[in-house]
């Protein structure tokens, strides 16, 4: 047994750049995502987190609004940190960047800065008391009517980054999940190497906001990938590629029933949701040429 004692988790760098002793919730998916990203960057990036709360990272950081960050902070960080080794400024932000029909993200991308943006997607605004964030989650309760097939498909369309990754001037874009950490680490490393703007989207379940047991964080992340709800793909050199197939397309029901925030959903509604997820996944397969 001693002969085969090389296990993959031991190959990650042991230095913790995401400072320990943080006050995140139990089983926090967001903390996991940032931890994996900081492990991937090791010493070749400078991380900036944009939230209203004090952060705990070993990198240089500042509190700023997202649009104003581009003009001033990115350049100043590059000046202050750059020495003999080149460092790429990295911003970790929640889906706030998608707000106002992508205005914040687009205004940043127009300037074609040389940065990496990590979007940790827990479908909530964490700095304003776990409020629902845009793009709208599919289960939103409308005032006048129950959401039908059309609304569900629209909500999923605005949620998936591959629908508009080509229109934005990106040099690299990818989607990943915390359930597959080495996939995430590879993508962050690749985003740091490529020159130009890179975006990495990370699906990170939130036990407090989604209402499930903190031990199930990784399980829910894996379910989202397996059901095709959060497809894992990559956009590089103008080409899409699908990294993981949806092995259990019927497990959307299991994914929804595991979360108590969707407790009011009927079986009929879950079927329409399953159909919408299938259509979105087939669209991605067509783009990837499979």
């Amino acid at each position: 047994m001693e002969k085969y004692s090389v296990y993959v988790p031991k190959l990650l760098p042991k230095q913790e750049n995401f400072i320990v002793g943080r006050r995140s919730c139990r089983g926090c998916g967001k903390a996991l995502a940032i931890r994996f990203a900081s492990k991937a960057m090791a010493e070749c990036g400078a991380l900036i987190k944009t939230d209203n709360k004090p952060q705990a990272t070993g990198y240089a950081w500042d509190d700023m609004e997202f649009p104003s960050l581009v003009g001033s902070v990115v350049r100043s960080v590059r000046k202050s940190v750059s020495g003999s080794s080149y460092k790429k400024p990295t911003i970790a932000i929640d889906m706030k960047a998608f707000d106002g029909s992508l205005v914040a993200l687009q205004s940043m991308l127009e300037k074609t800065e040389d940065i990496l943006v990590i979007l940790y997607d827990n479908e909530k605004y964490m700095d304003t008391l776990i409020m629902e964030s845009k793009p709208l989650p599919f289960g939103i309760e409308y005032h006048h009517h129950a959401p039908g097939a059309k609304e569900v498909r629209f909500a999923l369309e605005s949620r998936n980054l591959f629908n508009f990754a080509e229109k934005l001037s990106l040099s690299y874009a990818a989607s990943s999940s915390i359930a597959y950490p080495f996939d995430l680490v590879d993508k962050v490393k690749r985003g740091l190497k490529i020159k130009g703007t890179a975006v990495v989207h990370v699906n990170s379940p939130c036990p407090t906001g989604w209402m499930f047991a903190p031990a199930d964080t990784v399980k829910l992340g894996a379910l989202a990938v397996e059901s095709g709800f959060n497809p894992v793909w990559e956009y590089k050199d103008g080409k899409f590629s699908l990294n993981m197939a949806a092995r259990k397309p019927e497990s959307v029901k299991e994914y929804v029933r595991a979360q108590k925030r969707y407790r009011y959903m009927s079986d009929a509604f879950i079927e329409t949701l399953n159909e919408a997820v299938r259509i979105e996944f087939e669209k991605l397969q067509k783009i990837c040429g499979k």
Binding site: M1, S5, Y7, P9, K10, L12, E16, N17, F18, I19, V20, G21, R22, R23, S24, R26, G27, C28, G29, A31, L32, R35, E43, G58, Y59, A60, V81, P181, P214, A215, D216, T217, V218, K219
Partner: protein, 95 residues
């Protein structure tokens, strides 16, 4: 609670406001060393980076950081981690 430390990480000076996370915890992970194969999956998935390698390559949780989310128990390959119940520290009745 520990005192404030001043450190520099990657050449950037930072202050570490170290707080202990004991008040989160209701369960405490304990490792059965006969079953453990030292794979490090618990170390990989710990959201609080509480689990560290100790003597002889075994992995154990730092109880000052552990919040008892039992994610390590769920992800463990051999099932060598079990959660033991723990009493919460006494608090002032007002808080």
């Amino acid at each position: 609670m520990k005192k404030k430390e001043k450190k520099s990480l990657n050449g950037v000076p930072v202050t570490l406001d170290f707080k202990s996370n004991e008040d989160f915890r209701r369960e405490r992970p304990s490792v059965d060393r006969d079953k453990c194969i030292k794979c490090g999956v618990c170390y990989l998935y710990c959201p609080d980076s509480a689990i560290r390698s100790v003597d002889e390559g075994y992995f154990e949780a730092d109880l000052e950081l552990c919040k008892g989310c039992s994610l390590c128990k769920k992800q463990c390959v051999t099932g060598c981690i079990s959660m033991l119940p723990e009493t919460l520290p006494l608090r002032h009745p007002l808080f």
